[in-house]
């Protein structure tokens, strides 16, 4: 008997150990990437000068007198992400309320499948459709010479972040205890009042994390954006050709050498810090709301 138990214990220990090692693989990857980015990204910032790098408005990495200012990329990434959130969050939020509270079972199944499908489409396909359909459409609707630019990128990003916003919000809304809603209805509130006054506030932390996911996906997207944004390092403006932090790295990495390559790593480091900052800020607000 005793040997059987200890054998079982040993097996348990081995399994736990294996899980721990597998878990550490993820942590190890994060550490490796972080350390590598910092080591690779710092030298160029030192050589160019921090203020010249972050607040310089001209990027001409291959000109006779190169200039490495990434302010256009930073602003474009911020504007692009903000625009995608402004369009994507309301659409995603109301879709989620509808799917979780109002829709009949059949509508819910069909719509839910459609949302899952949207999540599974590779970003290069978003880019291709954007390039062949959206860019010419923007050109015709607004009567401008060329449709590629910040607006096209914002629309593509808004569609790309929809699935994550909808799915996470639906899960959060469905997790609200039914008693809350029943109590509200029993007190005489209409169903709509109940959804927005009771269910949504109860699910706010889940909905907020849906927005975080959306921001994260939007700011980190490169492929789809590269195909519709025109890719010229201008200061951002709605109908101008722009370059994002991600596409700045992606479009020059294959050819770059020397200081230019180091500067691209510095851009990646800035992007990394941005994503950390966004996550930290939103986590902070989430925690404070939950405690307050």
């Amino acid at each position: 008997m005793k040997t059987k138990v200890s054998r079982k214990e040993a097996a348990e220990k081995i399994i736990h150990g294996t899980f721990l090692i597998l878990g550490l693989v993820t942590v190890g990857c994060v550490l490796l990437i972080t350390i590598y980015l910092v080591i690779a990204g710092i030298p160029a910032i030192g050589k160019i000068g921090f203020f010249k790098f972050v607040f310089g408005s001209t990027w001409a990495s291959t000109a006779a007198e190169p200039s490495y200012g990434i302010l256009p990329f930073i602003l474009t990434s911020i504007y692009g992400t903000a625009g995608a959130i402004v369009i994507g969050v309301p659409v995603g939020f109301f879709t989620a309320v509808y799917l979780s509270k109002v829709a009949s079972k059949r509508v819910k199944t069909v719509m839910g499948e459609a949302v899952s499908l949207l999540a599974g489409i590779p970003s290069v396909v978003y880019g291709l459709v954007g390039m062949l359909v959206l860019v010419p459409a923007i050109r015709n609707i607004f009567g401008i010479p060329d449709g590629s630019g910040l607006l096209a990128a914002i629309i593509v990003l808004a569609v790309m972040i929809l699935p994550s916003i909808i799915k996470v919000s639906v899960n959060a809304l469905e997790a609200v205890p039914k008693e809350y809603e029943d109590a509200s209805l029993a007190l005489g509130a209409t169903p709509t009042e109940t959804y927005f006054r009771v269910s949504v506030p109860a699910a706010k932390s889940g909905i907020a994390s849906a927005v975080v996911l959306g921001v994260g996906r939007a700011i980190g997207e490169a492929m789809a954006v590269m195909m519709v944004s025109g890719n010229v390092p201008n200061m951002p403006s709605l109908f101008q050709s722009v370059r994002f932090l991600t596409t700045a790295v992606a479009s020059e990495m294959s050819y770059s050498a020397g200081l230019q390559r180091q500067a691209l790593f510095s851009i990646a480091l800035v992007l990394f810090l941005f994503i950390m900052l966004i996550n930290a800020t939103l986590n902070f607000f989430l925690k404070r709301k939950r405690e307050g």
Binding site: T62, M131, M226, G230
Partner: protein
């Protein structure tokens, strides 16, 4: 990728220098140095040459035309590679240029664009933003949309140096591949772009430059202006070692023409 190639080549060169000439002479070696635009052409030639001559050591150091010319005149490599013609003073300093191939850069517009021909001056005025409307060059009254390539592209370098617009182009879009340029131009009736002649498809219209349509023939006889030669640079009064001479002869032979065509250039021989 290029960085890797450079590192490998540098490492190979370092090893060869350390090992001395004795070892490399036994199997034979060819060292080439220069133009990055010639990477595709010299790559297929080098591969085919080493496949035919087992044990031969072939190296290519992609440093740019200028340093390739310097390297061969200093005796650092056997054959220099240049994607521009040699200047008079370079020829006077004792270098010989042998044209290996020509690289034509086609100017493409949307098939619906009525413009058939542009001069080099018009092209540089368009790309620097002096001419912004198609009506100024015989087209419809609409703004010109300039499509170009990313900063390090060999095609962009060739186009800008021939039209005298280096660092002066006011691009609307900077795309990262020839295919993207062709797709974008085929989608936008007001767009103009440039692409390697070998890659151009029917979805766009190739226009004449100074009255000449780019074809294999017009690139070869030099009547089409936006082209550059791919040149093998050697020292006039120094005889190449046997292996390097063998490679040189192979590269300009009829046998190699097919390979050069497959790499997207027009063979000179």
């Amino acid at each position: 990728m290029k960085k890797v190639v450079i590192c490998v080549c540098a490492a190979m060169m370092a090893v060869m220098m350390l090992a001395g000439c004795g070892r490399s002479a036994s199997k034979g070696s060819v060292t080439t140095d220069g133009s990055t635009s010639m990477q595709a052409v010299i790559g297929v030639l080098g591969e085919a040459f080493t496949a035919k001559n087992e044990g031969v050591n072939f190296t290519y150091n992609p440093t740019g035309s200028g340093s390739g010319i310097t390297a061969v005149s200093n005796g650092i490599c056997d054959i220099g590679l240049s994607s521009r013609a040699l200047k008079d003073e370079e020829i006077a300093s004792g270098l010989t240029a042998t044209v290996l191939a020509y690289d034509g850069i086609a100017i493409i517009v949307n098939p619906n664009n009525p413009v058939e021909n542009l001069t080099i001056d018009e092209l540089s005025a368009i790309y620097t933003g002096e001419i912004t409307n198609w009506s100024a060059v015989g087209g419809s009254d609409s703004a010109i949309v300039l499509i170009g390539r990313e900063a390090e592209s060999g095609t962009r370098d060739g186009f800008e140096s021939i039209t005298n617009t280096v660092d002066g182009c006011k691009y609307r879009q900077e795309l990262t591949s020839t295919g993207d340029v062709i797709t974008t131009v085929s989608q936008n009736p007001d767009a103009i772009g440039y692409a390697s002649l070998a890659s151009v498809k029917d979805s766009v219209k190739v226009i004449a430059v100074d009255g000449v349509i780019p074809t294999e023939q017009s690139v070869k006889d030099g009547s089409y202006a936006i082209q550059r030669p791919f040149i093998l640079v050697t020292k006039t009064d120094v005889i190449l070692n046997d292996t390097a001479q063998k490679f040189f002869d192979y590269a300009i032979s009829n046998e190699a023409s097919e390979l050069i065509l497959s790499a997207g250039a027009v063979p000179a021989n």
